[in-house]
């Protein structure tokens, strides 16, 4: 993260945007014609268009969730559902338009590139404009592309898995995404292949009132391993924008998939995301989910443990600053015997922020030897901060071991006093304590991300005690 001068605490760190140079947009509002236009723009096959149209029907039919964060301010008619920034897919950095390159420069993508991170699928508006896949990955047979290319080039894989983990009728926002999805990532890792460097993509909203509906599909074939990193920053706008992604992961027998996100949308974005994974026999799926930005986030990464020996993990970090509502958590659905899962959630509420843990732990009937542990810790920084915990546990087998714990606390006066006695001022001391509180989760992130997260938390913590 490069230094950004002249930014106050309440200002957004990446609060800049460039004139909208999108070549094509569908305009505001959603209709069957808009969906057809999107599909036409992407030169999609008939089956994908039909899928989108069925999803649109489901979106119209589905009710808004009557629980969770307050979503009343979303006006679906004011949202632009599709915009295309540049006409052709770039393969190298130099080919990118100047304004887009400058935006990326400020987030630090070239830096990440220099650090020899794998292919960078960077998203500017809704089209993947820059895509650089490392040669050695291609040689191993790993497919890492935007989903549009995958629909064209690998229809046999996409048709087999697309929409199987998150059906279009799953919930209102999954239906919306299925109807108007654009951009995202498609990853296929062949049998036995280990991808040793994390694949990552940066997403960025850069059009006022423009909702981003990316779609990610990850298939890890038998015995393979992949770590995917999703990170996002968005410029500040005066009106609310909507981000509604769908992520589907299929971990075939013996595969391991780790998906890390640090969500740092600006504080006017509604972030309503459906993330779900299926873990087959002896497969492992891990979600590392950090939520720092956005106005409202509703996101519960889940793992369906379908085969014996499967293991699921969710590590969730939420930071709810002034005016923010982080409604996050995780879901574990045990559908097979000898499966294990853990959910660890750490949340921090500052000023008027509300951090809610909402999770589900489900054990289907007739299973043996299922173990699960759910731990939620909440830290409240100010007297108007709030936190909620809603851990749903539905247990239908007797041969289980289920544990759940939750704790709510504030920064201990004795801890503060101790650090102050060692020469830290109150801000520094509370920053240290918060970092210590998050440490078990931050350790799970790749180093660049851990550093970035620590900096973000420090930034958020400035002036929070008093």
């Amino acid at each position: 993260m490069a230094d950004t001068p002249n930014v106050g605490i309440e200002d957004y760190r990446f609060g800049f945007n460039f004139p909208d140079s999108s070549v094509y947009t569908t305009g505001k509002g959603l209709s069957e014609e808009v969906v057809r236009q999107i599909s036409r723009q992407k030169e999609e096959p008939e089956w994908m268009l039909n899928y989108r149209l069925r999803a649109l029907e489901a979106f119209r039919r589905k009710a808004m969730p009557n629980w969770g964060a307050d979503l009343k301010a979303i006006n679906f008619d004011e949202i632009v559902y599709y915009a295309r920034p540049t006409d052709k897919q770039s393969r190298s950095w130099e080919e990118l338009p100047e304004s887009i390159r400058e935006t990326y420069d400020r987030i630090g993508i070239p830096e990440a590139e220099r650090k020899f991170l794998a292919g960078v699928g960077a998203q500017y508006d809704s089209e993947v404009v820059y895509h650089n896949l490392k040669k050695e990955l291609e040689a191993k047979g790993v497919i890492f592309s935007d989903p549009e290319s995958a629909v064209r080039e690998h229809p046999e894989i996409v048709r087999k898995y697309f929409g199987t983990v998150v059906p279009y009728g799953d919930n209102k926002f999954a239906a919306l995404n299925s109807a108007v999805w654009s951009g995202g990532s498609f990853i296929y890792v062949p049998k036995g292949v280990t991808v040793d460097i994390p694949l990552q993509a940066y997403f960025r909203i850069n059009l006022e009132n423009f909702g981003q509906f990316e779609r990610t599909l990850i298939i890890a074939d038998e015995g393979s391993f992949v770590h995917y990193i999703e990170g996002c920053t968005a410029p500040v706008y005066t009106t609310d924008s909507l981000h509604s992604a769908v992520v589907e992961i299929i971990a075939l027998p013996g595969a391991r998939v780790r998906y890390s996100t640090i969500q740092n949308w600006s504080t006017d974005v509604y972030n309503l995301v459906t993330k779900r994974a299926v873990a087959h026999e002896n497969a492992t799926v891990e979600w590392v989910d950090g939520n720092i930005g956005s106005k409202r986030t509703m996101k519960y990464p889940s793992v369906y443990l379908m085969g014996e020996g499967a293991h699921g993990e969710v590590l969730s970090i939420a930071f709810a600053g002034n005016g923010q509502e982080q409604d996050t958590g995780g879901k574990m659905v045990h559908m097979a015997s000898n499966t294990t899962s853990t959910i660890t959630s750490k949340s921090i509420s500052k000023a008027s922020g509300i951090a809610s843990y909402r999770g589900l732990l489900k054990v289907a009937p007739g299973l043996n030897n299922v173990k699960s542990r759910v731990v939620c810790d909440a830290l409240l920084l100010n007297d108007e901060s709030a936190t909620n915990t809603y851990p749903y546990m539905e247990i239908e087998s007797d041969d289980v071991s289920i544990e759940h714990e939750a704790r709510v606390s504030r920064i201990g006066e004795d801890q503060l006093f101790y650090l102050q006695s060692r020469g830290f001022d109150e801000d520094e001391a509370s920053g240290l304590i918060v970092n210590g509180f998050l440490d078990p989760l931050v350790k799970q992130l790749p180093m660049e991300y851990a550093v970035e997260l620590n900096r973000l938390i420090e930034l958020e913590m400035e002036g929070s005690v008093g």
Partner: protein
Amino acid sequence: MKHDRGNSLVQTPWSLSAVRKEGERRFSELEWPGPSDEMWRRTDVSGIDFESFRPDSSAVQTDLPERGKFELESFYTGSGEKNLSGDAVSTLISHAAESRDRVEAFHYSRINNGFTLRIPSGVHIEEPMVLHFTGGDPGTHEALFGHILAEENSSARVYIILEDADGSETLRTAGFHFEVGRGSSVKAAAIQDLSLKSKHFGFHSAAIDKDGQFTFSEIDLGAALSVSAPVFSTLGEGAQVDITGLYAAAGAQHKNLRPVQRHAEPYGSSNSLYKGALLPGGRTIFQGLIRVEPGAIRTDAYLSNKNLLLEDGARADSIPSLQILNNDVRCTHGSTTGKLNPEQVFYLQSRGFSSDEAKRMLLWSFYDDALGKLPELVAESVRERLLRHPIFSAGDG
């Protein structure tokens, strides 16, 4: 009712009809709960024709010590229109007006039995008072209220038992409202041991004033369907609440327990432990909530739910929730669900106990800490009732 009325405590000449009227008003504002209501999502009451149960009630059987030190008044269908005390009227009307759903409003609109109990300031009653409601005929609805007022620096023990005839099907709605005054101590128990065909809906509440102590045992053994949504509020600094829940579900029993520990004032503490065992067919839903209001600093609250699944085919949902609206608190909750430890069963068998005996012993030990928290008289009664419950008596136990 055989006991004497003490000095008249009636301040406002209002009768129960004012409460019923408020209940009817609230009833007309609400719809019957359906699957889209979060609190009723897991308990389907759409098949119950509430209004088909004919209102009926019978006199309470009491076992009362130290008569003359307190004031007890009973109201039932046969007791005629009598006036309630002003305190009871205002409590009942406000609960009726704030009914959370139509089932609760229905309860207030049909109130046909109940009692008011006042422990005057400074009075301490050592011996427990036992009130035993045996309900009406099969097919009837008894809507029961209780208003228990412990004035400043008083103490009492109140145990309420709900039963009906074995094998009969009745609808029983009940709301016992405790008001614990400054520095007072109330120990109470509500034992629901209805027939396995009956339906039970509980709307109990407790408001605990400064330095008051309230100990409550909620025992839920009977009924085909039992929903209990008590709210325990600390309204003064230093108020303390200690709740023990004990339940069992077997056969087609369905239980939905959702206690709320609500802290409205600083320096309150609350602690709850709910334990339940299930046999195949049994279904329990525990949705406990700790809610700490913005001003209630230095709150210390704990909520714990433990479920024991004795065999496959039962289902225990556990949703221990927290809503914390200020930062100077210590709130924790925990939940565990599991089965009998096979190694322990094996150990006991190796010592000569049969498999059944071993399981029963381990089941007793599961309930032991909850039973240990009950007052002696209640614990004894609950042990006997547990032995009659299918969880101990049915199948191979």
